[in-house]
């Protein structure tokens, strides 16, 4: 009890260590919302957002985009498709349109679906990535309800996503004069993500694609088996078919557009699509009216910020404006308070 602690402090075993951590004295920066940090910060951010908003709007405006919804234009085909018994009947439809201004540079052709819920939970999980890797094409796990046909043969590619693949074919024709018609050359390559084309999707290893898929059957809503999707380009078949890969990347929202073709920049289209008369020749296969959906085609150029997207620009502009408004009112409040404080102090 009479032990003197001041003698040899080092010997006291129970004394807590005098470390900054244990004594809660870690060197630290104390954050504080000072006017000098907040107000300039608001003004700068506001300015940046306003600038960015204007820039985005301008670039969105610079994008030339044409959207044609063809469900109503091809109403007879749409009617036909409502009846499942007409499944194998062909139906084509031509949609003429006019491009008022030249579409310079790369022009992309998208198909657009309205009211198509690719994001339904049971829909999105109805696929098997292992099958799509080509390793085990009879693996149809998770693909319910499109795992096997009525004979029990596994479906390849299995699942609801694959089964519901968009299967309209759209051709673009240019009419430099009312009598001449030029088919605009379209590229189906380069429309997929690199990783999808090279990693996520693989054909089963075999010299002959059809034989690789023996033992499987086509999805019920398909007209052709997966190895015959592209009759023109044998490379573009099986799980590596570009349209198939694009479709399999399910959309986030019920209204979406997917890249369908690129305009091949040759001949008269070397600099993009000239202004003038055009038409889409559509093989109308994909039924949408049953679920009150709509289909459309979009032709668009792109800029640094992607396609035409006014929303981002407007959002930036609005945010910038609101931030500035807030900055001004905060400055006013702050100056008033400062004045009051000075008055009260003196």
């Amino acid at each position: 009890m009479e032990r003197n602690s001041n003698d040899v402090p080092g010997l006291l075993s129970r004394m807590p260590d005098n470390t900054a951590f244990k004594q809660q004295r870690l060197p630290a920066w104390r954050s504080h919302l000072t006017a000098w940090a907040v107000l300039p910060g608001f003004f700068t951010t506001g300015a940046f957002f306003l600038g960015m908003g204007i820039l985005l709007i301008l670039s969105a405006k610079s994008v030339k985009e044409i959207e044609i919804t063809y469900t109503s234009m091809c109403s007879n085909c749409a009617k036909l498709r409502e009846n499942a018994s007409n499944f194998y009947k062909e139906c084509t439809c031509s949609v003429p349109f006019f491009i008022p201004e030249k579409m310079p540079g790369n022009v992309y052709m998208y198909y657009k679906l309205h009211n198509f819920y690719q994001n339904l939970r049971r829909y999105t999980i109805s696929r098997n990535n292992r099958q799509l890797l080509g390793e085990d094409i009879t693996n149809v796990e998770n693909c319910a309800p499109f795992q096997r046909d009525s004979n029990g043969i596994p479906i390849a590619p299995c699942g609801a996503i694959a089964n519901s693949m968009f299967n309209d074919t759209i051709l673009l024709s240019y009419y430099p004069h009312s009598s001449t018609r030029i088919n605009v050359p379209l590229l189906s390559s380069g429309i997929t993500w690199w990783t999808d084309k090279h990693i996520k999707f693989q054909n089963p290893r075999s010299n002959n694609l059809p034989s690789a898929f023996t033992g499987t059957t086509k999805p019920p809503y398909w007209r052709k088996p997966v190895y015959q999707l592209d009759p023109e380009n044998p490379e573009n078949n099986g799980f590596l078919n570009n349209d198939f890969i694009v479709w399999m990347r399910v959309a986030a929202l019920p209204t979406f557009k997917k890249l369908y073709r690129r305009i091949h920049r040759t001949g008269p289209f070397a600099n993009g699509l000239p202004a003038g008369n055009y038409s889409f020749d559509i093989a109308y296969n994909f039924p949408v009216t049953v679920f009150k959906g709509e289909k459309g085609v979009v032709l668009s150029t792109v800029t640094w910020s992607g396609g035409s997207n006014l929303f981002l620009g407007i959002a930036y502009l609005t945010t910038g404006a609101v931030i500035w408004l807030a900055a001004f009112s905060m400055t006013a409040v702050h100056l008033k308070m400062k004045k009051r404080n000075i008055v009260s102090e003196s």
């Binding site: 402090p9 004394m15 000072t34 339904l120 939970r121 829909y123 986030a252 929202l253 997207n309 905060m330």
Partner: protein
């Protein structure tokens, strides 16, 4: 009552052996029992339920791992903690169980482990040994089979207690063979936890001997001053009173805990609401859209009925949205509290180096409540005071010696050789040297009239065994002034007077008791007869008696002793007869020393608006003096109410008077019948307090308190007490202490803290929200019952103002942020529901959902919860007002919770709808399609991680290295895990588990995705900054102002202490001690505690008497007179 019989060798099987188990598990039972316990927690059970839901394929909207990973993690952390705790319990159990004691086996003494001791065994104990089990004392080394024990571990009292063996058994002595043949049968009550009661009897040799507590030595006691003793084990192991007492401690919860539970319930309700909305949405959608859509998509649909689909969707959404109540909430809270507890344990400023005592957070789950204390209930002795008595002043024959030590005038103390005794007056020594007879007489009396037992240690060192410290102080003082009390026998007292050894014949010993409040010794030596009366610690008086008178009186006394029915009265009369016509010699003043820093601590806590009530077993004068000396009572108080009525009516009257003074006559005193409404008012939180101005104090006596605590008066009492700045309850029993605490707890709805050091404080420590034990001086009981312990009262200031405040501040910030974060995280699914046909599709990748709470965002918030500081510790101490928000519950309450939730909802709204707007018509820079679900998921997830990281960065006000590492590290971890999970390699191995291959690479290289993330972040965060800035600017809190000040201070110079010293305003007051315990007189005069063989018993001398009132009043008057003339200049209202 079922008596249970026990006897050596008989029926042993039904008695447990002495092994104790405080551990809960062993290796085999750990997993099942621990899991069972953990799943008893509602939260864990809830997550188990979710897990089961997720295993139903029809509704499983999330993979099972999203729940099981966090759940297993949480269970593991808790299990590891429990296992460690239990390991230490096992260790201490083993250590105790393997202690050795000497047991009589087969007629021989053998060393045996404690755990093998059985009921019925005979054990030999040696001095300073711990008692292994509850024993019946058989014999001891001391005469009459006496032995001394210290019960510090049991009840916290350090003074020695005496135990007697039965005369029949004490004859057995140390005779092993006879002891071995001892075959008495003890019949006693079943094992119970009453430490001070034992009933039973011993049947031996056809005789029955009653047994009581005096014959029993309990486990946990230590044998003192007795070289050996034998005892028979009555209760062993779990039956012992010690173990019976270590019952399950009541589990304390903090108010934040309770609030959290309510909020979690609300969130459940909210969750169910969301589930219902989405389920209805699903039904409608299925009806309107899905039906047609389904025909296109699905061949054979299981779910045809839209209502049933809605029902399934409800459960699916419950699974998805369950993250609003994250599993990690409870475990994070525990981790943070544990961190705070360690900081308390590590605090050097709460370490008492003199006793090497650390502050200790014994309960790790109450820390933030330390920041909300409104009432502190403090014990006096040992808590406010050191329980060290010092002889400070005396007055002899009208002359006063000694000065109070004052910090202003340095007086060099006289240093004496013994015990570091200090006295600040040289004139007294001079008077002794000059041989002033009165002075000599004074000290002679001090050396004679007491019950101290001297003990001569080997090197001639004299050690006094004292029963009360004040007595020790007086005898030691006399010794230091040259009147050394050397030894005593039942009939003599030997004193060395200025070097001359004088032996006095002790003729009679009139012991101290609480009613007479005095003690007398009648003695004689060769030269003169001598009678003296010592009003201990106060007045010293003497009377010369002649022999005839004494003989006559002694006869009277003996007659009185023989009297049967009115013995006490007669003895009192006899005492009164002789204790009169005394010559007042002088008076002594013993200072009851305050602990260091008590005044400053109390001042500071009062500034923090913490009300301090002193609850003491001491008498009123002592308590009041302590009140004055620690500035709780001051001379400039408007009024000090003293309630000391003996009956309910008197107390009522006194309370009424007090109330009239407080409120003026206009406010009538409610009669006892209207108290119910009054209580209701009190519950609602009365505002009358504000209307009363001025400082008042309330002092209430134990018996008055008993009445005041009765149902019809308690509201009045509480109301008055709460208005008073200071409340002192004196002469209260431990139970009353607890009652007072309960009263305040119940009707004021205030957070209470009880602090004490002794066994009598245990009930109050246990019933208060927070119990603090003063460790290091008396026994361990208070500490063992406490939630926090430290060595000095002054550390309370730091515990509350620094640790408590910070803990509360951190916990509130943590909770706000946690709820915000999880709402922001989860509600995105809700918004998405409207765009995915209410199909319970998640917005995020499943792995993200799994990892978000436990990996991506857990550490920054823990770092904030553990390390954050708004103001420095120095400022926390310097500005006690900073403590207010905690008391008013301002930092986290229901409205704060709604603000956090609103913030979270807003953020989730921005998080969803900004990407939604952009993705509505989005194409990549290369024209490719990027408006896919996976990119959407990655965009929102990345925005979310960035938004919540920026938010935690904003919330963190104290950026240590750890915060930096955790915050930046979390964001970095997110990206590295993201890229890993989206990498080719992992996809090749688990293509179905990681379908996001290449996503991060493609979408996070798009400029517009980053523009979306930036926009989302700014939109989510800017309003918060603006709001906070405006708030600080317009309505700065004290904390804001001090932070501003701190910034200036930091810039100007390194922090300098600018601690204000609270001054003692009334230096004349000091805490002088009054003894209040009955003495050892009986033992001394009976000679029982002396090793002298020839003694004739003088019995009944020290008996108490109760009903002679006149002389009590006289004495009281005398007492106060003396006190007044001596040290007090004010009349104390008695």
């Amino acid at each position: 009552k079922v008596d249970h019989r026990e006897k050596k060798e008989f029926e042993l099987l039904q008695f447990p052996n002495n092994r104790i188990h405080t551990s809960k598990y062993n290796v085999l039972t750990f997993l099942p029992i621990n899991l069972f316990e953990q799943f008893q927690r509602v939260a864990n059970a809830y997550f188990l339920f979710l897990l089961i839901l997720q295993l139903i394929p029809e509704i499983s909207s999330l993979s099972w791992f999203t729940t099981i990973v966090p759940l297993v993690l949480v269970l593991t952390i808790t299990a590891v903690k429990d296992a460690t705790d239990d390991y230490f319990r096992h260790k201490s159990d083993n250590q105790v169980n393997n202690r050795l004691s000497e047991v009589l086996i087969n007629g021989r003494l053998q060393s045996e482990k404690w755990m093998n001791v059985m009921a019925g065994d005979i054990i030999k104990l040696e001095n300073n040994q711990f008692v292994a089990a509850d024993l019946l004392l058989l014999s001891s080394s001391e005469p009459h089979g006496l032995c001394y024990i210290e019960t510090a571990e049991l009840d916290g009292e350090t003074n020695l207690k005496v135990r007697h063996a039965l005369p029949v058994t004490s004859e057995l002595g140390t005779d092993i063979s006879r002891l071995a043949k001892f075959d008495g049968v003890v019949a006693c009550e079943p094992p119970n936890n009453k430490l001070d009661k034992f009933t039973g009897d011993l049947s031996w040799k056809d005789n029955k001997y009653p047994l009581n507590n005096e014959k029993i030595i309990l486990r946990g006691c230590v044998l003192r001053n007795t070289s050996w003793c034998f005892g028979m084990v009555i209760f062993a192991g779990p039956d012992t009173k010690l173990m019976q007492n270590s019952g399950k401690t009541k589990f304390k919860r903090t108010s934040i805990d309770r609030l959290m539970n309510t909020l979690v319930l609300w969130i459940f309700g909210f969750l169910v609401c969301m589930g219902i909305i989405l389920a209805i949405g699903n039904s409608i959608w299925e009806h309107q859209v899905g039906d047609y859509f389904r025909a296109f998509l699905f061949q054979d649909e299981v779910v045809k009925n839209s209502i049933f689909s809605g029902f399934l969707t409800f459960w699916s959404y419950i699974i998805i949205l369950n993250t609003v109540v994250p599993i990690s909430l409870y475990v994070s809270v525990e981790v943070i509290r544990l961190g705070h507890s360690y900081f308390i344990n590590w605090d050097r400023k709460m370490y008492y180096s003199k006793k090497e005592t650390l502050a200790e957070a014994r309960t790790t789950t109450l820390n933030e409540e330390l920041g909300q204390i409104e009432y502190v209930f403090s014990d006096k002795t040992g808590t406010l005071t050191q329980n060290i008595m010092t002889f400070n002043k005396c007055s002899i024959n009208g002359k006063t010696y000694g000065k109070l030590f004052s910090p202003l005038k340095k007086i060099f103390p006289l240093l004496f050789s013994y015990n570091k005794f200090q006295f600040y007056d040289h004139s007294l020594v001079e008077s002794i040297k000059l041989g002033d007879p009165k002075v000599h007489e004074f000290f002679r009396l001090l050396a004679l009239c007491h019950t101290v037992m001297p003990e001569e240690k080997n090197e001639g060192k004299l050690i006094y065994q004292v029963q009360s410290p004040d007595e020790g102080a007086l005898v030691t003082a006399a010794r230091n002034f040259g009147f050394i009390f050397k030894s005593r026998t039942p009939e003599t007292i030997t004193v060395e007077e200025m070097g001359k050894v004088v032996t006095y014949q002790l003729l009679a010993f009139l012991d101290f008791n609480n009613i007479r409040k005095r003690m007398s010794v009648i003695g004689t030596n060769d030269t003169f007869e001598f009678g003296g009366e010592g009003l201990r610690t106060l007045a010293i008086a003497y009377r010369d008696l002649n022999e005839e008178y004494f003989k006559e009186w002694f006869k009277l006394l003996e007659e009185a002793n023989r009297e049967f029915d009115k013995r006490d009265e007669c003895i009192a009369a006899a005492y009164e007869e002789i204790e009169k016509d005394m010559m007042l010699l002088g008076a002594t003043a013993i200072e009851d020393k305050l602990q260091d820093g008590v005044i400053e601590t109390i001042a500071s806590l009062s500034l923090a608006n913490i009300k301090i009530w002193v609850l003491t077993g001491d008498k009123q004068e002592t308590a009041m003096n302590i009140g004055y000396s620690c500035n709780m009572l001051t001379d400039d108080m408007n009024e000090v109410f003293i309630i000391s009525g003996h009956s309910a009516a008197e107390v009522w009257e006194e309370l009424k008077k007090a109330k009239e003074i407080l409120f003026g006559r206009s406010t009538g005193f409610t009669n006892g019948y209207a108290f119910c409404e009054k209580l209701q008012e009190l519950k609602r939180g009365s505002t009358v307090e504000e209307s009363v101005t001025g400082d008042y104090a309330l002092i209430i006596n134990g018996h008055s308190l008993g009445h005041a605590l009765e149902a019809n008066l308690q509201s009045e009492f509480l109301e008055i007490a709460c208005i008073c700045k200071t409340v002192i309850c004196c002469r209260v029993t431990p139970l009353q202490k607890a009652q007072v605490v309960e009263l305040v707890k119940e009707y004021r709805k205030a957070v209470t803290l009880a602090i004490g050091d002794g066994a009598n404080d245990i009930s109050m420590i246990k019933s208060a929200h927070i119990g603090v034990g003063i460790s290091g001086q008396e026994g361990m009981q208070a500490v063992l019952a406490s939630d926090y312990s430290f060595a000095q009262f002054r550390y309370l200031q730091r515990l509350l103002l620094v640790h408590g405040r910070w803990s509360y501040f951190r916990m509130c910030k943590f909770l706000c942020y946690f709820f915000y974060k999880n709402f922001a995280f989860t509600l995105v699914h809700f918004w998405f529901g409207f765009f995915c046909g209410f199909s319970a599709q998640t917005v995020y990748d499943q792995w993200f959902i799994t990892l978000f709470n436990i990996v991506y965002t857990s550490l920054p918030i823990l770092a904030m919860g553990i390390f954050d500081q708004d103001v420095s510790e120095q400022n926390s101490m310097d500005y006690p007002n900073l403590y207010r928000p905690g008391q008013l519950n301002l930092l986290f309450n229901k409205s704060k919770f709604f603000i956090c939730i609103a913030h979270g909802v807003y953020t989730s709204f921005a998080l969803f709808f900004i990407p939604y707007g952009v993705f509505y018509n989005l194409a990549g820079e290369d024209g490719k399609h990027i408006a896919d679900y996976q990119s959407f998921a990655v965009t929102i997830a990345t925005s979310l991680v960035i938004v919540v990281s920026v938010q935690i960065a904003l919330d963190t006000s104290y950026w240590t290295v750890i915060n930096h590492v955790f915050i930046w590290g979390s964001v970095a971890t997110y990206f590295s895990i993201l890229f890993t999970m989206h990498s080719d390699g992992i996809f090749d191995v688990f293509p179905n588990q990681f379908p996001f291959v290449g996503n991060a690479r493609h979408s996070l290289t798009q400029k517009n995705i980053w523009l979306v993330i930036l926009l989302t972040t700014v939109v989510s965060v800017m309003p918060v900054i603006a709001f906070r800035f405006i708030k600080v600017d317009l309505y700065p809190t004290l904390s804001d102002q001090i932070r501003q000040l701190q910034k200036v201070q930091d810039k100007a110079r390194p922090l300098k202490s600018h601690r204000r010293q609270p001054r003692r305003t009334s230096s004349r007051r000091s805490g002088y001690a009054f003894a209040h315990q009955e003495g050892y007189g009986e033992l001394i005069t009976s000679g029982k505690n002396m090793r002298v063989k020839n003694l004739h018993p003088t019995s009944g001398l020290g008996k108490t008497m109760y009903n002679s009132t006149s002389w009590i009043e006289n004495l009281c008057k005398k007492t106060t007179d003396t006190v007044n003339s001596f040290s007090l200049d004010r009349t104390v209202k008695l």
